[in-house]
């Protein structure tokens, strides 16, 4: 497992645990009322579980298992992939902060923009690796 996959899978696992915890808090609150403000966690729960966990896991495993390039550097320009993952995680955190702090709500848009750049960077990086094995 390449180092980038190691770090991004661990990040994804943390998002899974935290995302499940936030979802669990809201579900608990639905059954036994704790605090109505817990519903504010809803968009953060979605961001962490959808982008932080599921999407990051998919990208991370793609980096690991897609065919490698026939060069000395088998993973190609992995700096671009690192940039993509740093941006993706930065985007998730910005969106989460913007959703939680009213005075920082503009960060949601900034975070989504950062996620967009991350996805473009990853797509550019991974494109040449989408090929038949050995090609």
């Amino acid at each position: 497992m390449p180092r980038l996959t190691l770090w991004t899978l661990r990040a994804a696992l943390l998002y899974l645990g935290i995302g499940f915890t936030l979802g669990g808090l809201m579900l608990f609150n639905k059954g036994v009322a704790l605090d109505p403000s817990l519903w504010r966690l809803w968009p953060i729960h979605i961001e962490l579980t959808l982008i932080g966990w599921t999407m990051q896991l998919a990208l991370s495993v793609a980096f690991w298992i897609l065919p490698r390039l026939r060069r000395m550097e088998r993973y190609g320009n992995s700096a671009l992939a690192w940039i993509a993952f740093v941006l993706l995680n930065g985007g998730v955190l910005l969106v989460a902060a913007g959703e939680w702090f009213d005075e920082l709500s503009r960060l949601v848009l900034v975070g989504r923009g950062v996620e967009l750049v991350a996805v473009i960077a990853f797509a550019v990086y991974i494109w040449p690796r989408i090929k038949t094995f050995g090609a």
């Binding site: 696992l13 499940f20 979802g23 599921t54």
Partner: protein, 139 residues
């Protein structure tokens, strides 16, 4: 494929089918008369897809294919793996049963079961994280 991975994936497929049934009921409600609980199925529908299907598929495949933890325990703790499966599925089934009824406020006593469902699923999530964490390694 280890037995636990097969259970995760087969259970996931069942939830996928159930999710589609829920989706049909949600949509059919606009055309035909259905009991009022059918109008409360949206959260159950979404979580059948995301937790019941996708998450369990990921859990099963990760348990099967991630790097081995050790020669003696290639897949980490099998007990933790089974605990994850059992807690997640009991939690999810409790949610399917209780959430629509709690939403209608027809059976408020079920609120504690819904809360228990939340705890079980959360614990299951962290057990998976714990058991998988040490298998995420370079060699």
């Amino acid at each position: 494929m280890p037995r636990l991975a097969r259970w995760f994936i087969k259970a996931g497929l069942l939830y996928f089918a159930l999710a589609v049934v829920a989706g049909v009921l949600i949509q059919a409600r606009t055309e035909i008369d259905l009991p009022s609980w059918a109008g409360t199925l949206n959260p159950v529908y979404v979580h059948l897809l995301t937790v019941g299907w996708i998450t369990q598929l990921i859990f099963g495949v990760a348990y099967w294919m991630f790097p081995k933890f050790s020669k003696e325990h290639p897949r980490g703790s099998e007990k933790l793996g089974w605990a994850t499966f059992i807690l997640l599925n009991i939690g999810l089934i409790l949610r399917i049963i209780c959430e629509p009824r709690v939403a209608l406020r027809s059976e408020p006593d079920l609120g504690w079961l819904l809360a228990a469902s939340a705890v079980l699923q959360t614990v299951a999530g962290w057990l998976f994280v714990l058991n998988t964490w040490l298998r995420v390694k370079e060699r």
